[in-house]
Symmetry: C2
């Protein structure tokens, strides 16, 4: 993730209420540059802070935690070095010769142009078996019914301020999802509505009266209808939370540096669940039509949530920030004048008289890729970031970040998909320079050049998307065919064929 956490600038936040001077380091996120000459040791900004009790040297830890690529790439030591080369930026995909990814998935990635030492994106693609806890509802089941469930799983994790959180999430998040689904194995395979209440201990005697458990004769005047689908959504949501809590617990022992956006797809029982926390994106391209499957969570899209939290819990602002938004920085000499503002309730703007506390730095400021929470971070949902502080301050930023994803559901059985219908997942390195329509055009162009049954077509598509976003080195940077700058960020793409895993293994 390029520049998601803004470069630390001393005195940006003045505790005395005076406005900070203009940041010294320009924010490059709107003008990604390719500088192969940038030394790979260039400090990322800001470095993940170790907890106050930590004394482990950060450098060692970083080398251990960050310099890994997804195992399904099957990289040799030489391959790993090439994947880590900012100058060449070779596109990586699973080898043609090895075992293919599940579901005929296509994948490609490329490292950034020198912004961080290693590729801070991580990826995971697995088939996960969930063994049910026996007789969860306390009701004896037919012995013929299967005991377990399988789900397909894809995850993209875009790290910032270090690769630790992304790497940990790529190894563990699907296990948290499996854990959350264990209690649901029986319930999800039962066509009747989920029981509203379960006995305290699975299979416990004395609580197994089904009519008591699901009884419609509730003391409430009505009872909510809860669907199987919403149980899966809840399981994924809670899995994100447990993953985040594990990072918080282990941040010292295991040096989980930084944080990461997480974009996850679960295929279970005919439905595709797309869970997003951050600014990665997923779209479906179906018969040329574009169906967005996620929404980005940034200081701009979550402005009102952030402002409301700052308004209700002003202690989280530490006397350094104001929850009000202003269209530009206020200068002390403007005290008493009237400035445009927005509070947590407003979508429009109005004028207010500038008072002393309005000179504090706004909780949310900037626009587009430059928008920041507390002048520091440019995404508002994700995993990790437990140590992230406002620069030159001990004020924690985590309370404003949410680990909860938004989950969208797509029913695969409601439409007869052809081999060219795909779900495309990409980190912001792809989407910063590629529109949905350009992705759809590439889908059409690449897939039509391959036989529908060719197992390499989805990998070729993922590679084409990554190449199209990276560009080629020219004119002191990576440039696209239209001469605009390509993405200098890490770029990772999954292509999932909606027609299913296909007839080849």
């Amino acid at each position: 993730m390029l520049n998601r956490v803004r470069s630390a600038v001393a005195h940006l936040v003045s505790s005395g209420g005076a406005p900070p001077p203009r940041p010294k380091s320009p924010d490059l996120s709107n003008a990604p540059s390719a500088q192969p000459a940038v030394p790979p040791e260039a400090p990322r900004s800001p470095p993940a802070r170790a907890g106050s009790g930590s004394s482990a040297p950060a450098k060692t830890v970083e080398a251990r935690a960050s310099f890994s690529r997804p195992t399904f790439l099957q990289l040799s030591p030489g391959g790993l070095r090439r994947a880590d080369d900012h100058a060449g930026r070779a596109v990586q995909s699973p080898p043609d010769t090895g075992r293919r990814l599940p579901w005929s998935t296509g994948y490609a990635e490329v490292i950034n142009a020198g912004k961080s030492r290693h590729n801070e994106d991580q990826a995971c693609c697995e088939v996960v078996y969930v063994e049910g806890r026996r007789s969860v509802s306390g009701v004896p089941r037919e012995p013929s019914r299967g005991q377990g469930l399988c789900f397909y799983y894809w995850g993209l994790f875009d790290g910032h301020a270090g690769g630790g959180a992304a790497e940990m999430a790529s190894r563990l998040l699907h296990r948290h999802i499996r854990e959350q689904l264990k209690d649901l194995v029986e319930i999800l395979q039962d066509p009747s509505p989920p029981p509203l209440c379960l006995p305290s201990t699975p299979g416990a005697a004395g609580s197994s009266d089904p009519s008591h458990l699901v009884g419609p004769q509730s003391c409430w005047s009505s009872q909510k209808e809860v669907t199987h689908e919403s149980l899966v959504v809840g399981a994924i949501e809670n899995a994100f939370q447990f993953m985040d809590e594990q990072m918080a617990r282990e941040r010292r022992g295991h040096q989980v540096e930084g944080g990461c956006c997480a974009l996850v797809v679960v295929y279970l029982l005919g439905k595709v669940y797309v869970a997003n926390a951050g600014d990665s994106r997923a779209i479906i391209v179906r018969n040329g039509e574009i169906i967005p499957m996620s929404r980005e969570f940034t200081p701009e899209t979550e402005r009102q949530r952030l402002q409301l939290l700052g308004f209700l819990k002003p202690e989280l602002l530490g006397g350094e920030f104001t929850h009000l938004e202003f269209p530009r920085r206020i200068q002390p000499k403007e005290l008493g004048q009237r400035m445009l503002y927005r509070d947590q309730n407003m979508t429009g703007w109005a004028y207010k008289k500038i008072e002393l506390e309005d000179l504090r730095f706004p909780l949310v400021c900037g626009e587009g890729k430059k928008a920041r929470v507390m002048a520091t971070i440019g995404v508002t949902r994700g995993l990790g970031d437990h140590n992230l502080k406002v620069c030159s301050s001990t004020l924690p930023i985590k309370p404003f970040l949410s680990c909860f994803p938004e989950v969208r559901v797509y029913d695969l059985t409601q439409y007869e998909h052809c081999p060219d219908d795909v779900l495309v997942l990409g980190t912001d390195g792809l989407w910063d320079v590629t529109s949905d329509c350009e992705v759809a055009a590439t889908v059409d162009r690449v897939l039509s050049a391959y036989e529908p049954n060719d197992p390499s077509r989805y990998t070729a598509l993922a590679q084409a998307l990554v190449l199209g976003a990276r560009g080629t080195p020219r004119d002191r940077g990576w440039r696209l065919p239209n001469n605009k700058l390509g993405s200098g960020d890490d770029i990772s793409v999954f292509v999932i064929p909606l027609g299913g895993p296909g007839s080849y293994s």
Copy 2:
């Protein structure tokens, strides 16, 4: 508004943590009944509570404040009695003979079937002139430029727990909007972007350097672009807040009982602003196409906002409520078992072990028209309700209610409208029994029966919509042609032709 505030049930909320018995009075909102025999003195539920310092008799006040209809109906004393007759439920419209409503607007209303003594809906339709404050920005203006602005205004106010708030809002809200717009008269007529900062005193010397006011050389790395449109949105949002604050100030002196939903339309400089706080609705029917222009704010649509507030400020729950949602009421004997729940971060459901505090009543419960906040109120945005308390408790509900509208903007100049394109506003009495498609069909049927230039066609359409939602008295109730129950609620409808006010006066 029918049954928006739920009938008080003693012991519904048990401070001891034990679950309350099933409410004794059924919630009728899904089965509106027409009972002409219901005595008009039947107590509304719950009656607005006077503040602790108030000693004025509520009855007298109600008679004064509630028994009024919009002045544009020009009702004689006899007409007022007929409009107030729950048995006949005569549809009311402005007289054919008198001065027509501005913009050729059509209007019709009917009283409820006996649920409250008087019609608690109110309406307003005005042309409002805004006189600018002179030289707001401090920059001398060309003398030829007009000093003022006109806006067209329509408001529907659906009262609950008394008619006072709706009546007050119908008289005053457009004046608050005018007040908010006064500072913007010059700015909105100037094609250049709004100044970000204004001098403290309009026309004050020493602050009139325009380059200083709008200077792009900001200390910020970027500055937000603020549009004229967003200033109007901000003015409307703040006007709602000022209206609500005025109600809070005057609730004792003027006995502002209850609260109201507010649906407001402002036409200004080519654009239509639709502001909604509550569960009234607005749609555009354009060439047969339906364009929703509002969203309802109910315990269901605002569940997560309400839960978050309860989670962050548990003192607002008074130890009587839990911010968690459960699909049905938990019984004490279920302690220790596992129940489905959702918290403020979840859209899906998961199981949790039931603990003692989960036996508290949920902040949000019920479904559809039966959904309630704190077992009391079924809308979550609007004006007033400053005295509303949880029944059998002193716990105020107002902190959970928002007075802020959502404002949607429709640019009238972007489309060539024909005389049959209309904006339809209705209180929930219309929408509870009428789908968008049925409204569109009625628009087509009624308007095609009239000449495009016939000034009575939009009133005829409003009447047809009200009649279609009310039905006719039959089988111990008001019934629609398909024999389903008609709406027993107050019903009010505006029809605004998008082609403009027409060629007749």
